[in-house]
Structures are given as C-alpha cells and as structure tokens.
C-alpha cells in the first residue's frame, strides 16, 4: 500500500477535474487541501462525518439546462456548434466516457488521435496533468477544435451573455478551467500546437441561441504554471507526515479530527465557496484575523489574532519590533474611534462597544466632543 492509499483509506479516490485543479491553485498556501486532494480523499464525506457539512452541490435545474444546451449544440453531428464556430469542415470524434480501468488506454487513444489530427472537433479527450508530483487524469467536458496547425479549446457553458456582458465570476471561472485544459493539451502536444485563445460558447441574451466569444487565457496560464510549480513539493510533504496518519472515514470522529489537525490549513473566507472542508477550517481558525477576510487582516497591520490586534490598539501589549508601525496605526485608530463614538449623536446600537472603549487609550479623552457636527448641515 503506498502513502497515498494509506492516507485515503480503503474508499475509491476522488478524481481531479479542471475545477479542483483551479481551486487548488486558488489557495496554494493551504497544505491541508493540497494533501487531501493529492490523496484523493472524499472531502464532502469527510466534512459531513466530522459534523461540518458545507453547502455544496448543483441544482438539478442548472444541470438540466446545461445538459440541454450542450445536447442542442452537439445534435446532428454538431450542426449548431459548427454554425456557431464557423467550423463547417472536418470530422467529429467523440472519445466517450469510460471506466477507471481503461483510462490509460483512452489517454493513449486521445494522444494518437490528436497528434495525427488535421481538422475538425474532438469531444471528451482524456488528458493528464502533473499536479503536485502526481499524474492526474482530467476528463474535460471539452471539445478541441483543430484549424490549420493549432488546436483550440472550446468550452460550452450555460450562463448567458447579455448584450455582450456576462457574470464576471462565471467568466473568470470558465477562463481558469479552460486554461487548465490548454496547459494539459500543451504538455501532450507541445506549446506551439495549442492556442492560448479559447472559445467560450454560451447562450445569448434570454434565449438558448448560442454565441461564441474568444477569451485570451495567457494570464490564467501563467498563474496556473506558477501555482502548479509551487505545488510540486507535495510529494515531499507527504513523506514528512507522521507514519500511520490516515483520513479513513471509518475511524472515530475524534481520531479523524486529530488527523486533520496534523496538517495545517490556511483558511480565508474565500474558501467557503471553493472548498468542501471550509466550515471546519473556519471553526478551527476562530479568533484569527484571517477569518475576517484578507482586507481586514491587512488593515489591522497583518497581526495574526484578534486579541493581539486589540491589545496592540489599547496599548495593553508591547509591539514586537516589526509591529511598531502597525501598533501606532491601531492605537491612533482606537483613539479616533472612541472619540468619535463619544462625540457623535447617540446611536441606537452603540451600547456593546462600551466594553472596548473603556480600555485605556493613548489619546486624550478631554478632547472628546470637539468635532460634533450634528445639525450643522447647510439646509
């Protein structure tokens, strides 16, 4: 039994897809996610088992619409897709979906087909990508479209493009996913054989009429390359983990939680929409400034915990040499905040702040009340 199988336990491994690769590069500093994904652990099951389920899933309506749109495009030898792309010549090859055991064979077929391909559309190719020192299979829901000497990735998405504009989050997610495929195809065929421009096919306006737009994913590609190169060390990381460590879901919950705590997480609120384990990590990170989000953490001078930030602000704690500047800013902020709360018109909900505002502050309390502006407006 190798290291990865031992970490995962007897269950079947979760396969990577473009979405998980994209998410992996979203928070590259998170060792916990890197290890769990490398081991193919079922994170949804894990989160439920330890009592922190996340709200992940897709609406069946959204799935149905996505599938209907794709089926419509691919019907009759891709007639509608060809019309949208302007790709009237060439063949349509569907490499199909198959079982775990035949992945390598299908990958070989993909390689043979794509290398000798001249013009046309290839559906469901099976690609590989080295993620964190491991070869993962990617099953893109993708069509590669060959014209001339270059292959183009075609992504079919069911979000609408209305008056030439679409939801920014959806487009950037699609661009990152497409970049994963471009990268995998380039590793297979060579950089000059695959275009950095991908084609996004979406419904236009409020209809199901398809429209094709070209996205340049060079930026996403370079980000992805950089993040993947940083992840290379995961196999080294796996070696450093204690012997006998396992995330086998069959073990008792406290043991499972202990196992998770052996591997450090880097929680940020963005995880809540990207990682199945985020609710647990949020609970674990309680009291840290990172739980309030990166902008808050930075505005607090990058101080690690809430208690530390408040102690620096009130002067109760002496700043470390590298915290002097942050501490001065926090002290000034607390002094101004207390002064303004005292001088402003009484607020209906200002009560709870008294616990903090009574803390010793470096400012001169006698200056409070100086800047009252109530009723001074030029009406």
């Amino acid at each position: 039994m190798n290291r990865v199988e031992q970490l995962r336990g007897p269950g079947p491994g979760k396969r990577h897809n473009a979405r998980t690769v994209a998410a992996l590069t979203g928070n590259p500093g998170c060792t916990r996610r890197a290890v769990l994904d490398a081991a193919g652990v079922d994170k949804v099951g894990l989160a439920e088992r330890i009592g922190f389920p996340g709200g992940f899933g897709q609406s069946r309506f959204a799935l149905a619409r996505g599938n209907a749109f794709e089926a419509m495009l691919k019907a009759d030898d891709c007639a509608l897709l060809r019309a949208t792309l302007g790709a009237y010549v060439g063949t349509y090859e569907d490499l199909g979906v198959d079982e775990d055991g035949t992945l390598s064979a299908r990958h070989a077929r993909t390689r043979t087909l794509l290398e000798g391909f001249t013009e046309g559309l290839v559906d469901h190719p099976l690609l590989t990508l080295d993620v964190a020192g491991q070869t993962v299979f990617l099953e893109p829901d993708l069509i590669a479209y060959q014209t001339g000497t270059q292959l183009q990735v075609v992504e079919i998405k069911s979000f609408a493009i209305i008056d030439g504009q679409a939801d920014g989050t959806a487009v950037s997610a699609a661009a990152v996913q497409a970049a994963v495929y471009v990268l995998a195809l380039r590793r297979l065929l060579g950089d000059d054989k695959v275009s950095h421009e991908v084609v996004l096919v979406c419904p236009e306006n409020f209809s199901l009429q398809p429209v094709a737009v070209v996205l340049d994913v060079r930026k996403q590609l370079s980000t992805l390359r950089r993040q993947l190169s940083r992840l290379e060390s995961v196999s080294v990381l796996l070696e450093t983990l204690p012997d006998g460590l396992t995330f086998d879901l069959a073990q008792p919950v406290p043991a499972l939680v202990t196992a998770l705590e052996t591997v450090d997480a880097r929680y940020a609120p963005e995880c809540l929409s990207a990682c199945e384990l985020s609710v647990f990590c949020r609970h674990e990170a309680g009291g840290r400034t990172s739980t309030l989000g990166r902008p808050v953490r930075e505005a607090l001078g990058g101080v690690e915990t809430i208690d530390e930030a408040l102690a620096l602000a009130s002067g109760a704690a002496d700043p470390a040499p590298d915290q002097t500047e942050a501490a001065a800013l926090l002290r000034a902020a607390l002094r101004l905040r207390d002064e303004a709360l005292l001088s402003g018109p009484s607020s209906a909900l200002s009560g709870p702040s008294s616990a903090e505002s009574s803390a010793p502050s470096s400012g001169d309390p006698s200056s409070a009340g100086s800047s009252s502006v109530s009723g001074a407006g030029p009406r």
Binding site: G55, G57, Q58, S59, R60, F61, A62, L63, R65, F159, I162, D163, G164, N205, F206, L208, P269, L272, S273, T291, L292, G293, P295, V296, E298, A299, L300, I306, D307, A309, L310, L329, A332, A333, L336, R337, E339, A340, G344, P345, S347, A348, L349, S350, P352, S353, A355, E356, D364, S367, G369, S370, S371, S372, V373, S374, A376, G377, P378, R379
Partner: protein, 479 residues
C-alpha cells in the same frame, strides 16, 4: 477596508456583538417603501421563480411561476408583477410638486415632493431587477407575442431603478445588506455578511444566531441547490398548491427580516445631509416621470459614447459628494480621514477675528487663527481646508510649524462671516475652541462639456446609429 472599520470588526468578534461604524444614518428611509424579494430559477438566464412584495409588513403579496420554463407563465408573472409594482412607482408622480429655484433664482423648475423607494435584500436582487428590466422593456404590445402595456413600462422602471442604484448615495433602490453594512460591523467576513439572514442575526443577536441563520433560508435571488433538488423539483411537476406554500415558507423569513432591518435603520438619527441626497433622488425621479410622459422610448441596451462619458462623470461626482457628505455628517466617518491625514483636530490657540486684508482694491475681512494639534498634519501651505462645523468657510493654510507635541497650523479664513468688515458673532472660531479641519470640500464640482451625440468624434465610434427603440424578436426566446 479602512483600519477603523477593520478595528470595529475585530472589536465585534471579541465582544460577540456588532459594533457601530456610523453615528448617524447615511440613508433616507422612506415612510412607505416597497419591499421586493425576487427569486430566480437556477440555470436559466433571469427566469423569475417567485417574488414577495408589498408596502406593508402585514400584507405580503406572493407571486409564483408554477413552471418557470414555460414562457406563457413567465409572461403572466411579469404582467402581475407590473400590475403590483408600477402603480406604486408611478403614484408619487401624481402627487404634489414643489418649485426649486434654478439659475440663481432667475427661473424655477418643479419636482415631486416625494419619490418611491424600493428595498431588495442584496446586490443580487438589484442585478436581477436590472436584467428583468432588460428582458421586458423592449417587449412589444402588438404583433405575434403581445404583452400587456404595463410589461414594457415595468421594464423601463426597473432599468431606471437599477441605474440609480449604481449612483453612490442614491436611495431609490436600496439593498438591505449594503444598508446594514454601512452602519454596523460584524465579527465575520464580508463574504458571510452577504447572506442577509446571517448579517441581520449577527447585528441583532450575535455570532451563534448568525451561524444558525447561515443554514436557514437564503434571501435570493438564487435558490439553494439542495432546496431545488429536494423540494422544488418534485413539487414543480406534481403539486402547484404545495409549491406556493413551499415558496411562501422560503420567502417569509426574509420578508420579516427586511422589515426589521428597516425598523433598525429608522431608529438611527438621520445624517444632516441625507435630505440633500434625497432631494437629488426626487429630481432624478421627476425627470424620469417627465421622460415617460413626453417621449417614453425605452433606455438603449448600451449607452452611446457621449452618454457613457457623461454618466461616468455623474457617477464620479456623486461618489465624491457622497464621501464628503458622509464625513461631514458623521465624526466616525471623519475619523477615517483623520487617520489617513486628510483631516486633523486641534485647539484654537490664537485668533485675530478682526484682521483686515487691505492690500487689494478694497479691504476684505481675513481673520487668522492658529490651531495647535497633536495629530499628523499632511497639508502644505496654500492648501484650502474646511471645517464641518462651518462648511461655507474656507481656511487657507499660511504655515505649518512643528512643535514638541505636534504642529501649529496658521490659517486665514474667508467666507461665511457675513458681508460686513466685522465678522458675524460666532462665525470665527474663538481661542480654546476644538476645531476639525479637513481637505475634503463640499464645493460644487462643475460638469465637463461633452459634445452633442451627433458630433461624437470618430475616435469614439462616430455618431451613433438611430436604433434606440429596436424591439427584440420574441420568437427568439426559449419556448
């Protein structure tokens, strides 16, 4: 994120209670607002699923689309929504008007004494209404797929409201998440605050209630995938009556929270300049009512080059004005500017109220004061400062002298002291007075001159083609 707000979030987390980040309300709250909670069908491009709306908490009206993929039902929904919403929006345009002097009193124009205010739960609700406006305002009332006249009218109204929601400080279309977040800091991240239930619970009851609310019903417009799969899908195919009941259960908690949020905000004293911004909203509303009566063409899909540039400038001006007004209304907002050095507080140490500058053609009153401050001063001699206590008075910085504990700032005052050579009582700060001075200014920002759309230069695509009122082919819509 300013350090002050970040600090308030940290305090909230430590205390387990939300912290105020404003001492006054920075938003006009209407006496009779329309609360509208839209819900959309997952996967579709802006297909409505349900809406709960009304002007009174005790009378919520629920509109439901039994089968959102059926276009006839969708249009029936839009027609009932129009019938419920348009009369409210238009009613203020039938009310009394007031005269406003323009052109320095040489002329007057009229505006309505009140305007509508629509509340949606979150920014997603605003986006939904914008797209609903886009999909309905070009609908035809004749031809193959006619719609009732109220439908394209609703589209124009929603487009108008959604456009006004982009203007900083406008209160015609308000979202509750933003309105609450403007006044309280919670001990959770902005991502978690985006859930109205969670934000509201944090403010009123604390972190445990917020965590519990996170699991509860969403505030739309997107539904929870789990709800779609478990509740909605089975009912949609079989039981229309139960579907309505299920949607009512889903929307009711948000409905109640919306009204409670309104009450929470009403309890705060309004900022002194909130009324000025509502005046602007009433101007904009009056102009739109006039447009509907006179011309009535739907707003174009995309602004032309000139219109876009003018709009961008209006937005920039509104943003600047909003930032200054909030700071002048609220010492807690002003504190953020003091922290960055754009404002400082101090004590008047010297004052010569009767100083006359007679170097010019005729003598003018130019009192000088010295302000001693311990705060960092980041202004240069020659800069013009204002004090929120005397907004019409300008203070020119003559010199800044560092002292042991801070700086002495010498200022020359002009304006706001009456017309005589002797200052009106109280118009010049006296020795010992605490004074706040800032580089922020409420001064009028003149608009830039833009060419007539017909003279759009070729660099900007040339004059636009005349196609403002093209209608969409209804046959292209999904069946």
């Amino acid at each position: 994120m300013s350090t002050l707000v970040a600090l308030a979030r940290a305090q909230a987390l430590a205390a387990g209670r939300a912290q105020p980040i404003a001492t006054v309300r920075h938003l006009h709250v209407h006496d009779r607002p329309l609360v509208l909670i839209p819900f959309a069908m997952a996967g579709e491009a802006n297909a409505p699923l349900a809406a709960m709306l009304g002007t009174s908490e005790s009378e919520p009206r629920l509109l439901v689309v039994g089968q959102p993929r059926n276009r006839d039902e969708r249009f029936a929904f839009t027609a009932s929504l129009a019938e419920a919403v348009v009369p409210y929006l238009a009613s203020f345009g039938e009310g009394a008007t007031e005269a406003v002097p323009v052109d320095r009193g040489r002329d007057v124009r009229h505006r309505f004494v009140d305007a509508p205010q629509v509340w949606v739960p979150n920014p997603g609700g605003v986006d939904f209404l914008r797209l609903l406006g886009r999909s309905t305002r070009f609908r035809r009332t004749d031809g193959d797929h006619p719609v009732p006249p109220a439908v394209p009218l609703l589209g124009q109204w929603l487009t108008f409201l959604a456009a006004s929601a982009e203007v900083p400080g406008s209160a015609l279309l308000v979202n509750a998440v933003q309105a609450l977040g403007l006044h309280w800091a919670t001990g959770q991240s902005a991502a978690e605050d985006a859930h109205l239930g969670s934000l509201f619970a944090w403010i009123t009851s604390g972190p445990e209630a917020a965590r519990a609310a996170e699991q509860g019903p969403v505030a739309g417009p997107a539904t929870d995938p789990d709800f779609d799969n478990r509740v909605l899908a089975p009912l949609m195919s079989s039981a229309p009556a139960e579907l309505v009941a299920a949607l009512r259960d889903l929307l009711m908690p948000t409905w109640e929270r919306m009204w409670q949020s309104l009450a929470l905000l009403r309890a705060l004293p309004a900022g002194a300049r909130v009324g000025l911004r509502w005046d602007t909203d009433r101007d904009v509303y009056s102009a739109f009512v006039a447009h509907l009566e006179e011309d009535g063409t739907p707003q174009p899909r995309r602004d032309g080059a000139v219109a876009a540039a003018a709009r961008l400038q209006r937005l920039e001006n509104a943003a600047a004005r909003y930032a200054v007004q909030r700071a002048f209304d609220d010492p807690l907002v002003m504190a953020e500017h003091r922290l960055t050095g754009a404002a400082f507080g101090g004590v008047v140490s010297l004052a010569k109220a009767d100083r006359i500058d007679d170097t010019g053609k005729r003598p003018v009153l130019r009192p000088r004061i010295m302000v001693a401050t311990t705060e960092p001063v980041r202004v240069e001699p020659g800069a013009s400062l204002t004090s929120p206590a005397r907004p019409s008075q300008k203070a020119k910085v003559i010199s800044v002298t560092p002292t042991g504990s801070g700086s002495d700032v010498l200022l020359e005052l002009s304006g706001g002291m009456g017309r005589k050579l002797v200052a009106e009582p109280g118009s010049v700060p006296v020795i010992g007075e605490h004074l706040l001075l800032t580089t922020l200014s409420e001064a009028y920002r003149p608009g830039a001159a833009f060419p007539d759309p017909a003279d759009t230069p070729w660099t900007h695509g040339g004059p636009p083609a005349h196609s403002s009122a093209h209608h969409e082919d209804p046959a292209a819509a999904p069946g």
